[in-house]
Amino acid sequence: MEPIIQVRDLTRDYRLTHKREGVAGGLVDLIRPRRRVLRAVDNVSFSIDPGEMVGYIGANGAGKSTTIKMLTGILTPTAGTVRVGGLVPWSDRLQYTRHIGAVFGQRTQLWWDLAVVESFRLLKKIYEVSDDVYARQMGVFNDLLGIDEFLHQPVRKLSLGQRMRCDLAAALLHQPRILFLDEPTIGLDVVAKENVRVFLREIRDLQGVTVILTTHDLGDIEQLCRRVIIIDKGKVHFDGDLEDLRVRVGRRVRLSLELREGISSDRLVGLTAGLPVSWEANEGKLHLAEFRREEVSGADVIKAVVNAFPVSDLHLAEPAIEEIVRDIYRASGKGQA
């Protein structure tokens, strides 16, 4: 299938001024400012097929938002190309923006002083949405997001969760082909987060929209995306299936044990001497072991412990994606050094 989004060697520099210290330094700055170039996005390339839902993840300042800004046409890159459905976002802006929707978690695209419904009516005019489509979309949004209850309140009176629901609906009213979500769950409580995720899943299945999602809440990714792109310091470190990512890092498993009596972890290390298991050094009843599933089975480890000590409770857990990402960062950091 031909990809809808093609990003090639995308690079964006920011120029920063470094302030010198003190009064004398300040005066020198006036005449000769010290400038430094920060490469926020560094030779990023990827392509996305129509209908894909891709998680674009990275730490704060990794270059996520800068990439999204270039993909939405807000920012012009220093170098590289982006083509979305045959258009260049920043130069074909009027044509291009008709086909995209965007939600920036920290901002609203609704008109602050107006009732929510006025914003929707305006968007209907801006995107020339027909009456039929408008009625149908609003029906869908109400079923999934329950926006009817606050449709007549001014935007400034909405809670963050309500506002986010409205913003999502606003970004999708005109049936965009591509949806950009920049931290859509930021600042939301658990219930509101779940609402947003369920909505996004439904809308992906219902309307076949291509979605790029940036977040540093990896729960979003785990529940929504099959494919992830990990970016750090402006560079792509991983691009592939979430499952592959887990395999690449290895299926690390964590075993937590609660024993009847407190012992030193050294004795546990002795018990599993033949197995590739690492114990966290500890005294007492609670102990933590880590191992790789492909190297040793959980049952063998548990058997070794249970045979020697009375165990009151135990728990086996796969690592959260957050830890996987941390591992990726760590690995790439070593690679550079």
């Binding site: 009027l94 965007a102 107006l114 082909r177």
Partner: protein
Amino acid sequence: MKDGGSTAAVAATPADPARLVPWSRSVPATLGLYFTFIRLAFLKFLAYRLRYYTGVVSYTVFVTGHYYIYRALFASTVAEPGQPVLIGGLTLPEMITYVAVGWIGRSFYFNNIARELSRMIQEGEIAMNLIKPFHLQTVMMFEVVGEAAFRLLMFTLPIVIVIVPVFDVMAPPRPDLYGWTFLSFLLALVIYSQWNFLIGCLAFYLKNIQGVLRAQMVSMDFLTGVILPFSMFPGWFQTVTAWLPFQGISYIPVTIYLGKRTGPDLYQAIGIQLAWAVGLFIAGRLLYRYSVSKVIVQGG
């Protein structure tokens, strides 16, 4: 905003899923959209109408102050025998009318879009406008029209009702000048808002634009002729103002009202305003486009 002949509806499931379908907005849809912006701006200001009631008082105070200053000034000036006292070529009733019409006009064309635009740029809110298929400049201009319609009704009209009888403001020498004056103030609205748009764009380049905004607000009232008629200034100053857009904001409409421009002079004055309105609009479009492509939008 392309004015395409027909509406190309965007299909929900296009033939080629990797292509974006070309699109254009029809002329009626474009007009409808702009009318919506006018209407929404009108509604928005209506919601904040309370603050304009105090404006009626302060404008009346301004005019009252000028009224007494000019009365004293005219009383202390000695005229040629048999002639009325003239200052800057105006008699006292004309001078009072100049001041009153100037401030009445200001109550109509005034707006804050330089401040609004610079705030949007500095807080990064402009990003939300860049992802929509419209020209922000055009949208803001129609919002200004909506604001002006609101001001005309809720601000200018009350001021006229208070000021005109109290200070014996003269009618124009010919009734058709009412129409010309109104047309001229409409053009003043465009010039004022487009100048403000240009100033607002400076926020792309300046970290702190508050000083610039304050300086331009104060100097504007001088350069437009609201504070003093140009004819009271020295010759070189008049030459300078003749080459600036600001005379088209107050001096030209008010002198039209006073009947100081007739026949070809009148058409020429309107022509100058029209040229500035179009010129500033184009300059704003170019500067905005250049700024957006060159300058980083701040913040998230």
